[in-house]
C-alpha cells in the first residue's frame, strides 16, 4: 500500500494557505481573503443596494472625497452662494457660510461614519429606526421624491436654463430641449453605478474647482474689482440665522444620505472626514466665491463671467459636468430607495426614475421657462423637514444603540441572515413627525433645519430608551433577513436567476 504523500502535502499546503495570512509574509495576494469567504449575500438588485458592500468593492478615502465633491460641484451650489451675496456683506457672508457648512459637516460626518460602519445604504440603515416599510416611506419623502425624481428634475431643469443662457438662439439649447438631452446624459453614469459615478468625479472635480475659481476671479475683474467687493452692500439684507438656514438647507439632504456613498469606504473615519473636508473647504469656497460674484457683478453669472473672458468651451463643460456629477448621484440615491419595494433591478429603476425626472424638468422648462422661483421654494422645503430624518438616524445609531445599548459600532446596523427587522417601527415615525412639525412650523427662533434635527434626535432618544426600559415595542410585523438582504419577497425569482448566473 502506497501512501499518497502528494495528497497530504497538498492538503497541508491548503490548510496553511487558508489559515495563515501568507500574503502578509510573502507579498502574495491570497485567492480568497477571510472577508470574501464570509460574504454570504446575493446581490439581486445590483451595486449592493440591499446587501452589505463586500470587502473587495470598498474604495479609498480619496475616491469617497471625489464622489462627495462631485455631488457638491454643481451650479445649484453656486446659486446658493449667490443668494448669500444678495443678503450679506463679504465678512458676514464668510461667517454665514462657515457656520452653515460646519453644521452640515458635523451631520454628514456622523451619517457617513454610520454608512461606512454598516456598509449599507441610507434606506437600509433606516430599516432599524423606521422599520423596513418605514424606511421606504420616509426614504421616499427624503430621497425618493426630493433627491430622486424631484431634485434630479430641478437640477436637470437648471441644466436646461444654463444651456439656454449660454446659447440662447439654438433650438437644441432651449430650456425644455436641453433638459431632455441633459437628463438622459446624466442617467448614464447613475445606471452604471458607483464605478461610473467615481470615474466622472475623478475627471471632473479638480477641473471644476479650477474653472469655478476662474469664474470668480474674472467676475470680480469684470464687475469692478476687489475694492468694490469689499465695500459692496447687500441688495436684500437678511438676519444671520436666515443665511445659515439657507446654507444648511441647501445641502442637508446630501448630508443625510451620505451613507449611499460612504458604505463603499474602507475607513469609517476617512468616510466622515471626506465629507467634512469637502464641505468645510470646497463648499465654503463655492458659496463665498459665488457670493463675491454677486457683490461684484450684481448677479450669479457664473458661466457668463467665463464667456466674457473667452473661456467659452470651459463654460459649457463647467455647466455640463457640474450638473452631471451632481445629478447622477441624485438619481442613484433615489433609485436605491425604490429598490426596497421594487421587483426590478436598481439599473432599471435608474432608467425609469431618470425618464420621469427628465420629463418633469422638460415640462417645467417648456412651461415655466427660466423662472428662479421654483428653485427657491424647493430650497425652503428641503431645509424644513429632511433634517428630522437625520436626527432620528443619528439618535438611533449613536445614542440608543451606542451610548445606551453599548453595541459596538460595526454591530449596530449589521445585517445578518435570519435576523428579524420590524416592518414598521413607530418610534422613528413619531420622532421624525414631531421634529419636522415643531422645528419647521411651531418654533420660530433659531435655525429651522437644525431645530428639526435636534428635536427629532431628542424625542427619538427619549422614546427609544423609555420604551426599551418599559419593555414596550412600537413595531408592526417582522421581516426575516435572507441571503438577498432587504430585497422584497417578489425579488425571490430574481434571486434564483442570480444564483444561476
Amino acid at each position: 500500500m502506497f501512501l499518497d504523500l502528494s495528497a497530504i502535502y497538498t492538503t497541508a499546503v491548503n490548510e496553511r494557505y487558508i489559515n495563515y495570512p501568507l500574503h502578509l509574509i510573502q507579498g502574495v495576494k491570497p485567492l480568497t481573503t477571510a472577508e470574501e469567504r464570509k460574504y454570504e449575500w446575493i446581490d439581486v438588485m445590483g451595486d449592493y443596494s440591499l446587501v452589505p458592500v463586500p470587502e473587495e468593492a470598498l474604495r479609498t478615502t480619496t475616491a469617497i472625497f471625489f464622489v462627495f465633491t462631485g455631488v457638491l460641484a454643481c451650479i445649484a451650489a453656486l446659486w446658493g452662494g449667490a443668494v448669500l451675496g444678495l443678503q450679506y456683506t463679504l465678512r458676514d457672508m464668510v461667517v454665514v457660510a462657515i457656520v452653515g457648512c460646519l453644521i452640515q459637516g458635523v451631520i454628514g460626518f456622523l451619517t457617513a461614519y454610520m454608512g461606512a460602519a454598516s456598509r449599507l445604504s441610507t434606506y437600509a440603515n433606516m430599516s432599524w429606526p423606521y422599520g423596513r416599510y418605514g424606511a421606504f416611506l420616509w426614504g421616499l419623502a427624503l430621497a425618493g421624491i426630493t433627491c430622486g425624481i424631484g431634485w434630479f428634475a430641478v437640477e436637470t431643469w437648471l441644466f436646461g436654463i444654463m444651456m439656454h443662457d449660454l446659447v440662447p438662439d439654438n433650438p437644441l439649447m432651449s430650456v425644455g430641449v436641453a433638459s431632455i438631452w441633459g437628463g438622459l446624459l446624466m442617467m448614464t453614469t447613475a445606471a452604471i453605478g458607483i464605478k461610473g459615478i467615481a470615474f466622472l468625479s475623478y475627471l471632473t472635480v479638480p477641473f471644476w474647482i479650477v474653472l469655478a475659481s476662474i469664474s470668480f476671479a474674472s467676475g470680480i475683474m469684470v464687475g469692478g474689482g476687489w475694492e468694490k467687493v469689499l465695500t459692496a452692500q447687500p441688495a436684500q439684507p437678511a438676519p444671520f440665522g436666515v443665511g445659515v438656514a439657507q446654507v444648511v438647507g441647501l445641502y442637508i439632504a446630501g448630508a443625510t444620505i451620505t451613507a449611499d456613498i460612504s458604505r463603499f469606504a474602507k475607513s469609517r473615519v476617512g468616510a466622515g472626514l471626506a465629507w467634512f473636508v469637502q464641505v468645510m473647504v470646497v463648499e465654503v469656497f463655492f458659496l463665498v466665491g459665488a457670493g463675491i460674484l454677486v457683490l461684484a457683478m450684481g448677479g450669479a453669472r457664473i458661466t457668463e463671467a467665463l464667456l466674457a473672458v473667452g473661456v467659452g468651451l470651459g463654460a459649457y463643460l463647467l455647466a455640463v459636468l457640474g450638473q452631471w456629477t451632481t445629478n447622477d448621484n441624485n438619481l442613484y440615491s433615489g433609485a436605491l430607495n425604490f429598490t426596497l419595494i421594487s421587483p426590478v433591478s436598481r439599473r432599471a429603476l435608474v432608467i425609469i426614475l431618470g425618464v420621469l425626472g427628465t420629463a418633469v424638468a422638460a415640462y417645467v422648462g417648456f412651461v415655466a421657462g427660466a423662472s428662479f422661483d421654483p428653485f427657491i421654494s424647493f430650497l425652503t422645503l428641503l431645509g424644513s423637514f429632511v433634517p428630522a430624518v437625520a436626527g432620528t438616524l443619528i439618535a438611533d445609531f449613536y445614542i440608543y444603540r451606542g451610548l445606551y445599548k453599548k453595541i459596538p459600532v460595526t454591530e449596530r446596523y449589521k445585517l445578518r441572515i435570519g435576523d428579524r427587522i420590524p416592518e414598521i417601527n413607530l418610534t422613528g415615525w413619531i420622532s421624525t413627525a414631531i421634529g419636522g412639525v415643531l422645528g419647521t412650523w411651531v418654533i420660530t427662533a433659531g435655525i429651522p433645519s437644525l431645530n428639526s434635527l435636534l428635536i427629532s434626535l431628542i424625542v427619538y432618544s427619549i422614546l427609544a430608551i423609555v420604551f426599551d426600559k418599559a419593555g414596550v415595542h412600537l413595531t408592526i410585523g417582522k421581516y426575516e433577513v435572507r441571503e438577498y438582504g432587504l430585497a422584497p419577497k417578489w425579488a425571490v425569482r430574481r434571486v434564483s436567476e442570480a444564483r444561476k448566473r
Binding site: 507579498g27 495576494k29 474604495r59 479609498t60 480619496t62 475616491a63 471625489f66 464605478k195 467615481a198 470615474f199 468625479s201 475623478y202 475627471l203 471632473t204 472635480v205 479638480p206 477641473f207 471644476w208 474647482i209 479650477v210 474653472l211 475659481s213 476662474i214 476671479a217 474674472s218 470680480i220 475683474m221 476687489w226 473672458v309 473667452g310 473661456v311 467659452g312 468651451l313 470651459g314 463643460l317
Partner: protein
Amino acid sequence: MESLKRYVNVYLIFSIITSLIGVVLGALLVNVDPYSAFPWLLATLLAFLTSLVGVIRLRGISEPYRYGVVSIQHIWWVASVGFAGVMFYPADYFRRVGGVESTIMSVISAIWLVWGLYLIYAVHKETKAPVAP
C-alpha cells in the same frame, strides 16, 4: 512592474517641474493682473502639490495593486487640472497678460491630460487597480 513604476515616476516628476514653472509664471503675473494670476496659481499649485505628495507616497509602496490605486489617484489630479488648463490657458483672459506664458502652459496642460489618461489606462491594465479607485 518596474518599468511601469519608472513611467509613473517620470510623469509625476515631469508634472512637479512643469507645475513649478507654472507657479513661477503665475507669480510673475500677480503684479500685472491679480485676477488672472489667482486661478493660474491655484491650478499650478494643485498640480504641484498632488504630484509631490504622489511621489512621496509611492516611494514606500511595493505591492502592485496598492501601487496602482495610489498612482492612479494622483495621476487623476494632474490630468484633471490639465483638462482645465487646456480649456482656460488659451483664453483671451490669460493671453492678454501673458501670451507666451499661456501658450507654454496650454501645451503643458495638454501633456498632463493626454499622458495622464494613457498612464491611468496602463497602470489599470498592469496592476488591475480600478480606473477610479
